[in-house]
Subunit: 148 residues, 2 copies
Amino acid sequence: MLEEANLSVGAVAKRCGIKVSTLHFYEEKGLIKSLRNQGNQRRYKRDVIRRISVIKAAQKMGVSLQEIEQVFAKLPNKRTPDKDDWARLSKAWQAQLNERIKYMERLRDSLTGCIGCGCLSMKNCPIYNPEDVLANDGVGAVILDRKA
Amino acid sequence: MLEEANLSVGAVAKRCGIKVSTLHFYEEKGLIKSLRNQGNQRRYKRDVIRRISVIKAAQKMGVSLQEIEQVFAKLPNKRTPDKDDWARLSKAWQAQLNERIKYMERLRDSLTGCIGCGCLSMKNCPIYNPEDVLANDGVGAVILDRKA
DNA sequence: ATAAAACCTCAAGCAAGGTTGAGGTAAAGT
DNA sequence: ACTTTACCTCAACCTTGCTTGAGGTTTTAT
């Protein structure tokens, strides 16, 4: 195979703008894999970079590492995932993302009305309503970091 | 004044769908206040419910408790906040929310392209790009809980 | 050949946002 | 009056997502 695993932790970290410790952490969590060289140092195949990219994108959508791991588990084990594999993932997440966008829009549209309104019981409040649509659809958290 | 502070922790917690411990926690953080009855039990004015409603709404928009506290600090100290006071808050947050929605839309629009694309370096990737617009505008995290 | 830079493991620590439990008091129901 | 429920404080603990540091090895540069 042409699949050389020749990227060092440092190289990957630098390239992805994350810390070496984060790579260790992700590996521990089963999100990425590495091979070892003779001196026990990690060596990565290039696809690790795409994995990290996907992890970061998913996090921005509010997907937890655990959920990401579960989704990654569906990727082919034997071969390096190809474009189609990744496209399937992104498609699933795109739907989630759309729901979240809609949710945020609803939140925006009812924000002033709600905060300023008299619905002190919150039973009828479109914002603070446990029955809210998103509440029941198994959607995770949305997180947009302040540091990108 | 007509401002009776006669709601117990339990009543407020039940009404807001949160735990008593959360009320204690918020009080400790300075987000809400309480008076005490003869037996040292907390008694709340009705406006605490609106505060909690606002806290929850803000959290859903991704505002941290710390930021919420800072914003609450601008509310009148002497009198119970009125509709206009709350409306001012919601207006500020609405702008943030709009930015976040735009960000999510951009994320959505570039998701498939990016994950499936060949930009392994991420330097050009609209998703995984530290220079991303939101990175620099001091906007916090967006969190939508799975439990509403 | 040696010194510096990069890497290794493992344990501990941090921040946010709460939750849980122990030990004790107050208020409410019957 | 007595029991149960609600409340009090304070300290410890939990989860997520990492970061930091100590003590030691490997690579790389000169």
